[in-house]
């Protein structure tokens, strides 16, 4: 079973990001990067599905600067077989649609049975790529997966997804796009032999041009700003004063 996992290089989620003074993005210089934690779950699921199927190939792909090779290596160290890097030096110059169309071109090259991705990334938080990719490919999609069972004939998969207020179980034809939610699995650690082996695994590089993808975003970032700081509150002496303030100052009561 051939599975393609799209991963993204994102700033370390435990560190508070700083904005560039001119508001054109976040300061990335000197920030530690990691693989989007949801994508790590997607890699883990791909490895488990491959192990269960008794064979196949797991390919990790990313779109990013050459530094994103480090994130591909993380996936390779976990056990993925090879990597694909589509070189892009400016994350702000592409949008979810460009990413989805680029992944579509990678899918066309690789012809996987399944595409697994994290449900969203902690930097953009847009939660659009899996859905857009499925649409561009004309494939079924199952998002927010918390359980994936591939049928013995590899023609379909049963996916339990975390919907509002409960769990929903879908059956999707394969090939399909599945996005991983937090509770899908507990990812393994990269073992020391895994890290050593990853050094020797192949990473193919592409450009948007070589894949025939137009780098034409539909969404452009106009500016970045931090949410306004919360203003200090005030202590009121009585319920009457509170009601009065809500009516006359905050004007939230009629």
């Amino acid at each position: 079973m051939k599975i393609l996992v799209a991963v993204k290089r994102v700033p370390d989620t435990t560190v508070k990001l700083k904005l560039k003074p001119d508001g054109t993005g976040v300061v990335t210089d000197g920030v530690n990067f990691e693989v989007n934690p949801f994508d790590v779950i997607a890699v883990e699921e791909a490895l488990r599905l491959k192990e269960k199927a008794g064979g196949g190939e797991v390919i990790v792909a990313t779109i990013g600067s050459k530094d994103a090779t480090q994130q591909l290596r993380h996936g390779l160290a976990m056990g993925a077989d090879r990597g694909i890097l589509v070189v892009n030096d400016d994350d702000n110059a592409i949008d979810a649609d460009v990413v989805a169309r680029t992944l579509k071109a990678v899918v066309a090259k690789e012809q996987p049975t399944l595409v697994l991705v994290g449900k969203q990334s902690p930097d953009g938080e847009s939660n659009q790529v899996p859905q857009m990719l499925a649409e561009h490919l004309g494939w079924p999609q199952a998002t927010f997966a918390s359980k994936v069972v591939v049928a013995a004939d590899k023609a379909s998969a049963e996916v339990t997804r975390e919907a509002d207020g409960g769990l929903e179980t879908l059956s999707v034809r394969l090939p399909a796009v599945i996005s991983a939610d937090l509770r899908l699995n507990e990812p393994r650690y990269a073992s020391l032999p895994g890290i050593m082996k990853a050094k020797a695994k192949k990473i193919d590089e592409f450009t948007f041009e070589s894949l025939g993808v137009a780098k034409a975003p539909k969404v452009t970032a106009v500016g970045f700003f931090a949410p306004p700081e919360r203003k200090a509150g005030a202590v009121v002496a009585s319920v009457e004063e509170l009601v009065n303030k809500l009516k006359n100052e905050a004007k939230v009561l009629g």
């Binding site: 435990t14 560190v15 508070k16 210089d29 000197g30 530690n32 480090q70 290596r73 993380h74 160290a77 650690y189 990269a190 073992s191 020391l192 032999p193 895994g194 890290i195 050593m196 990853a198 050094k199």
Partner: protein, 602 residues
């Protein structure tokens, strides 16, 4: 700064042990965390992930001596390859460098009960076979030790032989048929004894020749005594070992007859290096917990992290971690530079590795002493930041502070290591291995003509710090020379003088490493170069004061009257520490800690 012509070796040849004391600061590149390879970072991250997600959540069970939990985690760690880092590939290991092994130790030591369990197995329990085992012993044991299928322990200490390790009474006698040794005696404080399958035991053949043996737990006559109840590292197993007519096959003799001390001392070199580096991991974690707590906890309507005296602690914690980290990974890098040139898989490969590590025995002792005392200070600050909560078991800093204490005791007490530092330097200088005398004569000339002394000012931001390092080395070597001339061969008996000399050498290595690293950070870590500089500079100022103070104490201990006055006036030629706006520096370093939720250079 005006650099005088010191006896610097060129940067193309391999650095020798203690070269830092004579070479100008930054005269050759040093390994720093900024220069780790992608793989080294991945190995560290993997160990850290494992520690944080698997081990930390189970600390209460581990500390309650739940051996089943400890062993479950132990075998998981084995499956991930954490025991195999420095075992050669031909015996099922990874054949990785010292630096990687150190990075794993740093990560694991966040929970010291856990890390000593690993260290007793993969470090002191396995390396004697790696370094001194014959082909058959390596084939038989190493693949199983690499995976953790066989768990190992190291049995050197006896109830009457602690620091004086070679005075042990355990004896081994060859049977008349020459096929076995019969071991009799007892060993104390054996880490992992509760569950180890294999013991590296030291015993004297015929009561004389100190020799290493590989002893299986299943051997008849071997008994493991009850668990000790310890102040810290409570989750680890520590028991005595009783050997009563234990039959050990003659082929289990490790290394050469009568050369057990070679095994014991060389294993200690690696053990000290790992211990020192491990302290860095625990200290970073204590700082992280403290910063997070202080940002959350409010008193007088403000977060603790806004108070100056809390910020001062953050700055001091971060700065001492910085110095330890700088000298620690520099040391690992020095060893690796030598080890990387050794042809692998040859009959003499491992003896050359042992030599390469031994070259930096002094640096390893420094790392052990500096790291363990740094962690004690950092853990103590961490408790203070936590206030009353730091004193209750529910908070991790309480455990870290208790666990920290043993680091000054095992792997050679800090006192023993302090004796070794100047002792070994002088021994090497006498043998002509170190140009200490040349440098000492240069210093005498400089002190008599102060214009020749290194300057404490200059246009570059680190010039003052560099000057302080150079002057500190001069004070140190001057004091060593004065003490050596006064006492000659009897200096070995002057423990207090030796310890002060050791403290000066330790300060020199720490300053030199921190300042050299900060210099490299201009290009290696440009965005945070200011934080590097602030910490290196602060450390250099503080260390310089302590070096001058110790130098004066040494002189006052070894001479009196006119002789003393002459020596002190020469020492006074060294410049005074220049002005440093210390409060401002503390604020800046603390701000970096607060911003990054802990040690600012992760």
């Amino acid at each position: 700064m005006a650099q005088t012509a010191q006896s610097a070796s060129t940067s193309t040849e391999l650095a020798k042990g203690v070269a830092f004391l004579m070479d100008p600061v930054g005269s050759r590149p040093i390994q720093t965390p900024e220069r780790f390879t992608e793989e080294q970072r991945l190995f560290h991250k993997s160990a850290l992930d494992f520690l944080r997600h698997e081990v930390l959540p189970r600390v209460p069970e581990i500390e309650a001596k739940n051996t089943a939990v400890l062993l479950e985690l132990f075998h998981k760690a084995g499956d991930l390859g954490f025991f195999s880092a420095t075992i050669p590939t031909e015996y099922g290991g990874m054949g990785l460098d010292e630096t990687t092994a150190m990075l794993i130790s740093e990560a694991m030591n966040i929970v010291e009960s856990w890390s000593v369990t690993l260290g007793a197995h993969a470090g002191i329990g396995t390396l004697p076979i790696v370094f001194f085992g014959n082909e058959a012993q390596c084939q038989k044991w190493l693949p199983k030790l690499a995976t953790g299928e066989v768990i190992s322990a190291y049995a050197l200490t006896e109830n009457n032989a602690g620091s004086d390790a070679l005075s042990g009474r355990t004896r081994a006698d060859l049977t008349p048929d020459g096929k076995h040794y019969i071991l009799n005696g007892s060993k104390m404080f054996i880490t992992n004894a509760g569950f180890a399958d294999l013991f590296i035991v030291f015993a004297k053949i015929a009561g004389e020749k100190f020799t290493g043996f590989i002893v299986e737990r299943s051997s008849e006559g071997l008994t493991v005594g009850p668990e000790e109840h310890k102040m810290g590292i409570r989750g680890s197993s520590t028991c005595p070992l009783i050997l009563e007519d234990v039959l050990v096959p003659a082929e289990n003799l490790l290394g050469e007859i009568g050369k057990g001390h070679k095994i014991a001392f060389n294993i200690l070199n690696v053990g000290r290096e790992k211990l020192g580096i491990g302290c860095i991991g625990a200290a970073k974690y204590a700082l992280e917990l403290s910063v997070k707590y202080a940002k959350d906890r409010k008193q007088f309507g403000k977060c603790l992290s806004e108070f100056e005296l809390i910020q001062q602690k953050f700055a001091q914690m971060a700065t001492s971690i910085y110095a330890a980290e700088s000298l620690g990974y520099r040391t690992a890098g020095l060893m690796d530079a030598r080890i990387s040139l050794i042809a692998k898989g040859q009959p003499d490969t491992q003896s050359k590795v042992v030599q390469a590590i031994e070259e930096f025995a002094i640096e390893a002792s420094i790392l052990k002493v500096f790291g363990s005392e740094m962690l004690d200070d950092v853990a103590d600050h961490a408790i203070q930041v936590h206030g009353g909560y730091g004193f209750v078991e529910e908070y991790q800093v309480e455990r870290i502070a208790r666990d920290s204490r043993v680091n000054r005791i095992f792997e050679g007490t800090n006192e023993i290591n302090r004796m070794l530092i100047p002792g070994t330097i002088l021994k090497r200088a006498m043998k002509g291995e170190l140009p200490l005398l040349d440098f000492s004569m240069q210093i005498m000339a400089e002190l008599q003509e102060p214009a020749k002394l290194p300057k404490l000012d200059g246009p570059a931001p680190l010039d003052t710090a560099r000057g302080l390092v150079e002057c500190a080395k001069r004070a140190t070597v001057y004091a060593i020379q004065a003490a050596a001339q006064t006492y000659m061969q009897a200096l070995g008996e002057q423990q207090e003088v030796l310890a002060r000399l050791a403290d000066m050498v330790i300060a020199c290595y720490a300053m030199d490493s921190a300042v050299a690293r900060a210099g490299q950070a201009d290009t290696d870590d440009a965005r945070r170069a200011t934080t590097h500089r602030e910490m290196a500079n602060l450390f250099a100022h503080e260390a310089y004061e302590s070096v001058l103070r110790e130098a004066n104490w040494v002189l006052e201990s070894i001479a009196e009257g006119d002789a003393l006055a002459g020596m002190k006036s020469l020492l006074k030629t060294l410049p005074e520490r220049p002005v440093l706006a210390v409060v401002k520096v503390h604020r800046a370093i603390a701000a970096a800690c607060i911003e990054t939720n802990g040690y600012p250079l992760v």
